[in-house]
Amino acid sequence: MKTAVIVFPGSNCDRDMAVALEQATGEPPAMVWHRSTELPDGLDLIAVPGGFSYGDYLRSGAIGAKSPIMREVKKAADRGVALLGICNGFQILTETGLLPGALLRNAGIRFVCRDVGLTVASSRTAFTSAYAAGETITIPVAHHDGNYFADDEALDRLEGEDRIAFRYAENCNGSARDIAGIVNEAGNVLGMMPHPERMIEPAHGGTDGRRLFSGLVAALA
């Protein structure tokens, strides 16, 4: 299975993501610099990692979303290639328009950095196929702008179409309807604020993140 990680100036979870992908697939991902104008051929999965691309200037993810490589990422996602955006990656995917809504400043203003309980809201997606719907898992968050916002109509649609992948067991940032992660209409794009790639070794404090990657590999294989 071929995977790639997009790297922006200010990405800081790209190597964690690479470790998680290599653990799940047995092969290291291609690391693709954001100025590139093409992706490697035959990719099965593209990851947009966490961090602070462009220092969060203008809005979190706004400038990264306009990087040359994101045009190619969007084309690949439109063709059905799986696309995973974590934290700043989620912000970039909303700014790109691949996912609805926006990530606002946390309601409590503070940067939130701790383990949180997540409820698997749907196990129907390729990304959540190794979890049971309704299961609660522990995954860390580390963000300042994770407060998911969309208008009521868009939120109703996400719920009606079973596109909410994860909800916070306890809302840590003010997100509408406790949303921690959503998928696009076709189901091949997931954005989530928590960091599954930081919960894949017992030394991390748990391994609940590992099944996101192993489930994805099984679903895409």
């Binding site: 203008l58 809005r59 706004a62 400038i63 306009k66 909303t94 700014e95 609805p100 809504g101 926006a102 606002l104 400043r105 946390n106 309601a107 409590g108 203003i109 407060n147 916002f149 969309a150 003010g174």
Partner: protein, 79 residues
């Protein structure tokens, strides 16, 4: 030609920074403040002839996120 763009959060979008400013003003003894909303102002120095349509395009494509923000192109200001 200089153009200023005023970007504000839409009605109904929570503005925790505005709320923090509001509380700070009250703690300084300023009363009678109903609400505080924080926005941003972007100044562009453009070649003469840039149309409002071009500037609005810049706003929609990058400067504002129209899911959560409104933008207003303010009058040209003398350099």
């Amino acid at each position: 030609m200089k153009t200023r763009i005023h970007i504000t959060l839409k009605q109904g979008v929570l503005d925790p920074q505005g709320k923090a400013i509001h509380h700070a003003l009250e703690s300084l003894g300023f009363n009678g403040i109903n609400d505080v909303r924080q926005g941003k102002l972007i100044e562009l120095d453009l070649e003469d002839g840039a149309s409002d349509a071009d500037i609005a395009d810049m706003c929609r494509k990058l400067l504002a996120n129209t899911v959560i923000e409104n933008f207003e192109i303010l009058e040209d200001t003398a350099a």
